[in-house]
Amino acid sequence: MTQLPPPSKVKLGLVIDLDTCVGCHACVVSCKGWNTENYGAPLSDQDPYGGDPSGTFLNRVHSYEVQPAEGTAKLIHFPKSCLHCDDAPCVTVCPTGASYKRAEDGIVLVNEDACIGCSLCAWACPYGARELDAAAGVMKKCTLCVDRIYNENLPEVDRVPACVRTCPSGARHFGDLGDDDSAVSQLVAERGGFDLMPEQGTKPVNKYLPPRPKDVEPEYDILAPYLAPVTDGPKGFVGWLDKALSALTGGAK
């Protein structure tokens, strides 16, 4: 099982828009809520009301400050979960076959019944996408809500990962990145979507859309025509006003 299947035609994944993510953590908690209740063992929390609370989360939002050589520093919110890599190193290292990549859609999953909790898959993942659940002793990771996206008990519109459904700013997109014509593939093409750590050779399916340029000075002259004074002083202003009002059609019949 830990052999990767032949590359699937369908590659389901997420496209995350770093230009739009406001860092609200909605996706983080929605994911926690759905996945503690559904696929596999609950996502446990240790010392939840104590001095050192920690728990299993399948999706976390980082933030980075970027200081350009000139100009103001930028702040980027950066959600991160499993990227469902084509060459998933977490799968091939697994000694038990618990980690696998689905042949039909490329989703990387853990068969918790077979997992011995050796953590080697988490060691092999460069992205920190896998967390060993301290209570269940098995590896947890993003399932791309495999129990939602095909779920016939859900209305069709809701057959998307919980994080995508809940994202208030629409910064998360779900679809088939194996299909060049899909909306997500188009988005990646238009916006220059990129891979995380491409040099690791994991060939992630999930893509990130870069932040658009910020604090760009306008191309037009800011003084004219928009801010050219209509007159020199207050007196002249009333004169202008009279003329301007006369010229108004009134916007009415």
Binding site: G23, V28, Y49, P168, K214, I222, K253
Partner: protein
């Protein structure tokens, strides 16, 4: 599929039942689907919460708080039964008592007060979403001392919006997200209207529209803004008026809009000797007058077919009257507002200010949009199109919470109006029942008659000195001194002053302080330590200075320890509520809507919804409206009230599914016993769309006015024009100049004249005049994290992992000057106090500003957390540095640290100094732990409801 690939269930059952109600994890009021799963005993348990796709507010999305509701609903900090204090106040020692004992005790305190001196009850509610109900109760009780928390939140924005144009943002209005091309966001705004703004930002990003963020701090929404303007706190008004200066000077203003839909064309008496000086010229019926361009003669502002003139003046009996717009030109064309004059103060280069003004002008006028929708204005003019200026704005607490906040908010509204971008396509749009001008709101009432109700609603909008709440001697009638000369337009009351005034007996002593969902002994007060002292202080006979304190909360918050009697509330999934048109409904710009909460699960503890308790208590106290003619209890519980209460003929708390002549209808109608069931069937809300021909220009549109009357927002059409010139402000100024019989105390005259200008002005935050800006050169701010709402989030097992403690973020300049390194601590000192806290570096921050997340810091022992919780050891509050009064400056007075017009707490005026400190064991100050009345939470959570 490879043969050894596991077979998994791709279609597991999601839940046994979905119950739709309204979220209460913050004040955003989103619709939620609560997925329930049946337990082996058949009982349904909450398994998962998601957004409701049909809901007008959130359309399916849900924030981190909302999704974490399941942890709030099951929190170990939930109170379990009524509590009676056994230890000293502040210890947290209680005994559980029965509801009957609790209500008998409360009645024994309240009944004598009501019969002799109702003002001795101060009833203030915090995060209350039932203000039309709680105020009705308080009015019936007869005390003038009622308000909610608006006074320390955003009353400057709300009041400035109502007085200027009949509404502001959030529940009042929103940008036209579908059409706007340039969106400008001022100040901290993440904590209000949170999901709709995120959705709106997503929408404009998708359309490629632009966004400018004006905020000292570049996080959250400002991080995704195309342009970030890292303004110096407290100078937003000056920056806005510089934009106004540039736009007027360049003629980039919508003259037709100004002439027709604002009082820019109304004539002002300019005779300094006239008692009417500065007031609008009116006809005998009191109608403001304009010059009609068709005739050149005076006409009523709203006369049929009148074409108001912005330019013409009028001379009568030797007195010159000029239109408001002349006064505006005089003021804002002054070079005092030139970008070069304001750039240093605002911390924004003049070139940048010009670029933004040019951008506003370009988008508003070169990229104007038109909708082919015919409409008729209130003067009977027919229009074939709706012309949009697709520039929109939003602001909330950031620019509000300053001592110049009211005028700053006024300036922002004025800027929008000058561009013609209010209630036009692409601009800012009102949400029903707004627009609603100040004149359509009640005035404040304060007349107390023992044993009788108050003479009218507590809160409202004064129009002149005669509307103030003063006693016969001119002293404040209210315990919070709202509507007094110190803050005449305090439309939301001053909750933050109640405890200190009650403690000082100024203006008088009270007997019982009754509060709901207000964490006054912690993050909801300035001067937190001082408030704890006041709540526990005793007089010479050893009695508490504030004799009785009743508090209702669902959780073991810090405030619980300071009360004598606790009335435990339910969680939001266990209660009835109505998010009512009489209060702060869930409407959208295109639709009127309201919503309910209902018990999707029954409480498993001995707790009751606070509003239901008030129904019971109201009957025990024989409060009119809460008893039947035979003296029996009128409303069994809050649900009964929601269904059957009639506020005005045909108008009740909920507008959906009322009983009309021909069956059920929205808006007006008689009570309908099945109303709540209808709401439940419809997903917990009711919505009705505004006809397309009056979805814009609402205040001026005949059809909208007729529709609003039909829906019951008011009883007759009342079109109005925007008040660029706010005459009520001028009336207070006139009094301060000596006109009229109701006169302010002398020490306040100068300030009233200086600040209550009828046209927007900017003045430096008061702190700057009381605190040495050289010694305290740094501005200190707070904002609420999007994933946590106030202290109520800290008990949440999921959310507290995200925000378990808070550093003080320090800009590069101050970071380097102090030689800070990662992991360092700093001592932060204001004129009032000092704290020692962890620091962190942030480059994307105004160079003279530090900030932290609000209300992460917790008192040890509160919220069922361990005493070593990071919230209590590393977390901290800035509140310790802020006092409700400004430091003395030698004039013998202690001036309030608040806006002089509305009394809004000036949280964001705070100035501090900072120095590197050795790392203490814990954030300072450290307060002794409270005894937890609910014990502690479990050591591990493996949360799964289904099998």
């Amino acid at each position: 599929m490879p043969k050894d690939q596991p077979v998994i269930d791709l279609s597991p059952k999601v839940s046994d039942e979905v119950r739709k109600t309204t979220c209460y994890m913050c004040a955003c009021r989103c619709g939620i689907n609560v997925h329930m799963k049946a337990q082996t005993d058949g009982k349904l348990k909450v398994a998962y919460i998601e957004g409701n796709r049909d809901h007008p507010v959130n359309k399916g999305v849900l924030c981190a708080k909302g999704s974490a509701g399941i942890m709030q609903h099951n929190a170990p900090s939930r109170l379990r039964a009524p509590l009676k204090r056994t230890g000293p106040r502040g210890s947290g020692e209680f005994e559980e008592i029965s509801w009957d004992e609790a209500l008998t005790l409360a009645t024994s305190w309240l009944q004598p007060i009501r019969e002799t001196a109702p003002e001795k009850l101060a009833f203030f509610t915090g995060r209350d979403q039932s203000q039309s109900f709680t105020s009705f109760w308080a009015q019936g009780f007869g005390t003038p001392n009622y308000a909610a928390h608006g006074g320390f939140c955003s009353v400057n924005m709300a009041a400035a919006g109502i007085y200027t144009m009949g509404g502001a943002f959030w529940e009042f209005g929103q940008p036209d997200w579908d059409h706007t091309k340039l969106f400008m966001l001022f100040g901290v705004a993440e904590d209000h209207d949170s999901n709709p703004i995120k959705m709106g930002i997503g929408k404009i990003k998708e359309r490629g529209a632009r966004m400018i963020g004006v905020n000292p701090i570049r996080t959250g929404y400002n991080a995704v803004a195309d342009d970030w303007v890292g303004i110096t706190p407290g100078t937003d008004g000056l920056f806005i008026l510089a934009l106004v200066h540039l736009l007027i000077k360049a003629g980039k203003i919508d003259l037709h809009y100004l002439a027709h839909y604002t009082n820019a064309s109304c004539l002002v008496n300019e005779d300094p000797k006239s008692p009417q000086n500065g007031l609008l010229l009116r006809d005998e019926d009191g109608n403001p007058q304009v010059i009609d361009r068709r005739t050149g003669k005076l006409a009523r502002w709203d006369g049929e077919g009148v074409d108001p003139d912005l330019a013409a003046t009028y001379r009568h009996k030797g007195i010159t009257h000029r239109p408001v717009f002349h006064l505006m030109a005089d003021r804002y064309l002054s070079n005092d507002y030139a970008p070069e004059k304001v750039e240093d103060r605002c911390g924004i280069p003049a070139k940048r200010i010009r670029a933004i003004a040019a951008d506003l002008a370009r988008v508003a006028f070169d990229e104007a949009i038109t909708l082919d929708r015919a409409w008729t204005d209130f003067r009977g003019r027919e229009h074939t199109q709706m012309i949009g200026r697709p520039v929109s704005f939003h602001a909330m607490r950031g620019i509000s919470a300053h001592s110049n906040g009211f005028q700053t908010c006024r300036a922002l509204h004025t800027l929008q109006i000058l561009l013609g971008s209010v209630e036009t396509p692409g601009g800012m749009r009102f949400k029903p029942p707004y627009p609603k001008p100040a004149t359509a709101h009640p005035k404040p009432h304060c007349k107390v008659t023992p044993g009788q109700p108050l003479n009218g609603p507590h809160l409202g909008y004064p129009h002149g000195p005669e509307d103030l709440c003063l006693d016969a001697n001119g002293n404040p009638a209210r315990i919070d001194k709202a509507f007094s000369w110190e803050n005449p337009m305090s439309a939301h009351g001053l909750m933050h002053m109640v405890i200190s005034n009650a403690h000082a007996g100024d203006p008088y002593k009270i007997d019982t302080l009754f509060m709901y969902m207000a964490n006054m002994s912690w993050n909801s007060s300035m001067n937190t330590g001082g408030v704890m002292q006041m709540l526990t202080d005793t007089d010479e006979s050893g009695d508490y200075v504030i004799p009785h304190i009743i508090y209702s909360d669902a959780y073991s918050s810090e405030m619980v320890a300071y009360a004598d009697l606790i009335l435990p509330d339910t969680t939001y999934l266990e209660r009835h509520d109505c998010i009512s048109l009489l209060d702060r409904p869930i409407c959208e710009a295109d639709a009127v809507a309201d919503a309910i909460r209902w018990p999707v699960v029954e409480p498993d503890r001995n707790v009751r919804g606070f509003q239901s308790v008030l129904c019971d208590l109201g009957a025990r106290l024989h409060i009119p409206g809460f008893v039947n003619d035979d003296g029996s209890q009128k409303y069994d519980d809050y649900a009964d009230y929601i269904t059957n209460h009639i506020r005005r003929p045909g108008i009740g708390p909920l507008a959906g599914w009322r009983m009309g002549a021909n069956g059920l209808q929205g808006g007006r109608g008689a009570a309908n016993g099945g109303q709540i069931d209808s709401y439940i069937k419809n997903g917990g809300f009711w919505v009705e769309h505004i006809p397309a021909d009056c979805a814009y220009y609402k205040p001026f549109s005949r059809n909208y006015q007729d529709w609003a009357v039909k829906m019951g927002f008011y009883d007759s059409p009342q079109p109005y024009i925007f008040q660029l010139y706010v005459e009520p402000l001028r009336r207070f100024q006139l009094a301060a100049e000596g006109e009229g019989s109701i006169q302010p105390p002398d020490h306040l005259r100068g300030r009233i004249i200086a600040t209550m200008d009828p046209l927007p002005i900017w003045y430096p935050p008061f702190t700057d005049g009381h605190v040495d800006p050289v010694e305290y050169p740094i501005h200190a701010l707070t904002q609420r994290p999007m994933a946590m709402y106030h202290s109520w989030g800290s008990q949440n097992a999921w959310l507290r992992q995200i925000h378990g403690h808070n550093p003080l973020y320090v800009p590069t300049k101050i970071w380097a000057a102090n030689g800070f390194a990662e992991g360092d601590w700093a001592r932060v000192t204001s004129a009032h106090g000092s704290i020692t806290v962890p620091v962190a570096h942030q480059a994307s921050l105004n160079e003279n500003t530090v900030w932290t997340w609000n209300a992460i810091g917790k008192r040890k022992g509160a919220w069922a957390l361990d005493t070593d919780a990071p919230e209590a050891t590393k977390g901290f509050l800035l509140n310790h540095l802020i006092h409700e009064l400004l430091p003395a400056k030698g004039d013998g007075m202690r001036w309030a640290n608040s806006d002089p017009i509305t009394g809004q707490a000036a949280w964001f005026d705070l100035r501090v100094k900072i120095e590197r400190s050795a790392a203490p064991d814990e954030s300072q100050p450290v307060l002794p732990p409270l005894a937890s009345p609910v014990g502690k939470g479990p050591d591990e959570l493996t949360w799964k409801v289904g099998k």
